[in-house]
Chain length 335, copies 2
């Protein structure tokens, strides 16, 4: 049975929301996993009370007295708080007592701790946050979503590999199309790093490289050159577009509510709102580490936590981490 460690102290409304997410996951998802709720166990127990009957055989509480705050400097916090819920949760996985870790806490701290404690697979230069972008069609994975604000061309090629394995294993795309985010499709477009990455990607084996893509192609799910499942960019631009998208969804919902107050109760409108509510989605995987780590939005509601648990189990079941190891062992990282 898959063991998913959940940072109970992570989100903006922890541990209430995390506990509710865990309860939802245990009730609504297939019983292929159990959950390790990591944090201040007394607080977790208190948060469990209102939920009544929970399958405690599949729910373990793991004590971690310290909490990393949202505003703390990641590296310093991880080093000074070895008993934080982040460090304890990842420690379980490091000691093979857990298969996956997810947290809605301090993103930088989770990234730093996961990289330090789980380490990267050989050949992986940088771990990247894979951000799944919902679209009108199939979702598109954008990476890096914010782990690395400066990237060189070879790191971008590494992201193409990481994203391709994730798309194959978790998103069900046997031959994922990979696009490189750029300001135009032509070879000569872009800054020096992107131009070099474009040339490297064109001759990288094992990647179904579609070519340069533009900002408008992400939600379209294709460029003029073909369908795209994965879009590669540095973490600065990826983070900007990701956060922009969240806010665009919120803005459109607000405008709809104002323009069409009488149709808000319709099921098709509720479905649309659900789509536009980015918080509905699970977390973003940190790809490249040895193991499974998922970062959730700090404002994740319980349903997003549940969805992240599902994604975590998919990552474990599909042997994503092993497949990434194999991809990079084949020399895939370097063109």
């Amino acid at each position: 049975m898959i063991r998913v460690a959940l940072d109970a102290m992570g989100g903006d409304d922890a541990p209430r929301v995390e506990v509710e997410g865990a309860v939802l996951a245990l009730r609504e998802l297939a019983s292929t996993f159990r959950i390790q709720l990591v944090g201040r166990t007394a607080e977790i127990e208190a948060a469990l009370k209102p939920h009544g009957d929970v399958d405690r055989a599949r729910l373990e509480l793991v004590e971690a007295p310290d909490v990393v705050g949202m505003g703390e400097k990641p590296l310093a916090a991880i080093k000074s708080k070895p008993r934080s819920s982040i460090a304890v949760g990842l420690g379980l996985q490091k000691r093979s007592q857990s298969d996956a870790f997810l947290s809605a806490g301090n993103t930088g701290a989770v990234m730093a701790a996961a990289t330090l404690m789980l380490r990267l697979h050989p050949g992986v230069q940088r771990a990247a946050i894979g951000a799944p972008f919902p679209t009108a069609g199939k979702s598109v994975l954008v990476l890096d979503g914010g782990a690395n604000v400066d990237c060189d061309a070879r790191e971008l090629v590494g992201f193409a590999h990481l994203g391709s394995v994730y798309a194959r294993d978790v998103m069900g795309r046997p031959t994922p199309g990979v696009g490189l985010l750029n300001v135009g499709e032509e070879d000569e477009k872009g800054n020096a790093v992107v131009k070099e990455a474009h040339q490297l990607l064109k001759r990288t084996a094992g990647i179904h490289y579609v070519g340069n893509v533009e900002g408008r192609d992400i939600l379209a799910g294709h460029s003029r050159a073909g369908p795209i499942d994965v879009v590669v960019c540095d973490g600065f631009v990826g983070n900007a577009v990701l956060k922009f998208y969240e806010s665009a969804g919120r803005m459109f919902v607000g405008m709809l509510q104002q323009a069409l107050p009488d149709v808000l109760g319709r099921p098709e409108v509720k479905k649309l709102f659900k789509f536009l509510d980015y918080a509905e989605y699970g977390g973003a995987p940190l790809l490249g580490v040895k193991g499974v780590a998922i970062i959730c939005h700090g404002a994740s509601p319980a349903r997003a936590v549940m969805n992240a648990v599902r994604v975590a189990t998919q990552m474990v079941e599909s042997h994503l981490s092993q497949d990434i190891e194999a991809e990079f062992a084949e020399g895939g990282a370097v063109a």
Copy 2:
């Protein structure tokens, strides 16, 4: 009377759409300007025919036999085609025979030609495309929208000045708040260039610097630190977010049409669709050149061309170019 030169051969459906846009502008806007339609005058005359009575006293046709194609390399095209509609249109302004130039043609060629022919104001290191982002509240100007894929910190500070003057003169914001697009609000966030720009902007006189802002703050129109009218970033990330926004609007319209077919005729829905249709908006000014140049989307419909004519007249009437000159003459470019 303001003289607006309009590249009649620019857009995807030129000269039909440009001519229609000119006719609309002459009919619907205040009569403070006349239009110089630049291009193959025989084709322009033919395109004018279906529109019947047009105020020809305010409409001049200027012959330019060559056309720069959308796929042509900008600099080479400009140098090899001195009689292109772009070169001829900007030439009018250079010789003080026109006050503004707008084109929906090859963006790179318009930028290159405007920079070469009009030149930059002293102190301006790079011209930037100012992209107005419609929001639920007031619009926010994002720059650079794609003119410069690599920027150093001082260039970003220059964009803050350019955007501030534009926001004051054309957007009606007496003390525009300026944000620096980053992955987080804290001082230590971002890549080396952005960190340096943040420090420079904090001590730049004449800029109402709000601080680092995130992708989600653009459409919100404010960060936690205050309201923002202008968001500064390099042209790579600005272009990605700009094109992403266009496509998000299109996607939401499509989803709405599918979810709520029975309400599409309502005026409030039409208003919402108009908002979401980025093509409705006028062009993006190229800021920093001596004069007025506006770049329109290649797919601009006639109404967008008309809106761009209106913006061009506002830029001339508000003495934007002179105000930019003064801003940089005061040493504003360098912190």
